[in-house]
Amino acid sequence: MIDIQIKETPLDEKDCLSAVADEGAGGTTVFIGTVRSMTKGKTVIRLEFESYIPMAKKEMQKIAEYITEKWGALHVSIHHRIGSLEVGEIPVIIAVATPHRKAAFEACEYAIDTLKETVPIWKKEVFEDGEVWVAAHP
């Protein structure tokens, strides 16, 4: 089962875990991304996320399908939040259940790495003295 969601409300890892629950799974990995308080020595006040939602869902679906094929994942759940998030809040959760544990780790790492490269979601870091679109410039 593939469970892809983009939400404006807080994410809950229990939702992702229940989406991937399976008696055939030997291991489940969960990646939880959180908003960090500092970037390059500057204090972050909040992050603002936006997305081209229909395409973002398609790209997340592609990641989940690839994982299912390559690592034999039984279930994949990817939830991403958009809107304004404060320090400590959760922008992304990825849960992957596989028959054996090694595949679960590898597949989950692939998922978050690829999400950061292909999924049309953007975040702006807001500091006390300005704001910047993350990763926009070399």
């Binding site: 950061k116 049309p120 953007w122 926009a136």
Partner: protein, 80 residues
């Protein structure tokens, strides 16, 4: 032909709008659209990358645009 461009993130800041209309020659490629964009809005040149999505999929530079394509400017993504 007239093409509607939709912009997100820093691309919207560069265009100062979330949508612009551009007049292109028939069958213009994505590559020629990118050139036109950079000429009109030089700040696009400063970005780490610039991709265009047509109808919700990334397309290569040689893709030929058609009337009524939904063209979305995808500046470097930063989800997660």
């Amino acid at each position: 032909m007239n093409v509607k461009l939709v912009a997100f993130g820093i691309a919207r800041d560069i265009l100062r709008s979330s949508e612009v209309q551009m007049d292109l020659e028939e069958n213009a490629s994505i590559s020629s659209l990118k050139t036109l964009l950079s000429k009109r809005y030089p700040d696009f040149e400063k970005l780490k990358s610039l991709r265009l999505a047509i109808n919700e999929d990334y397309q290569d530079d040689d893709y030929k645009l058609k009337e009524n394509d939904e063209v979305v400017i995808i500046p470097p993504v930063s989800g997660g």
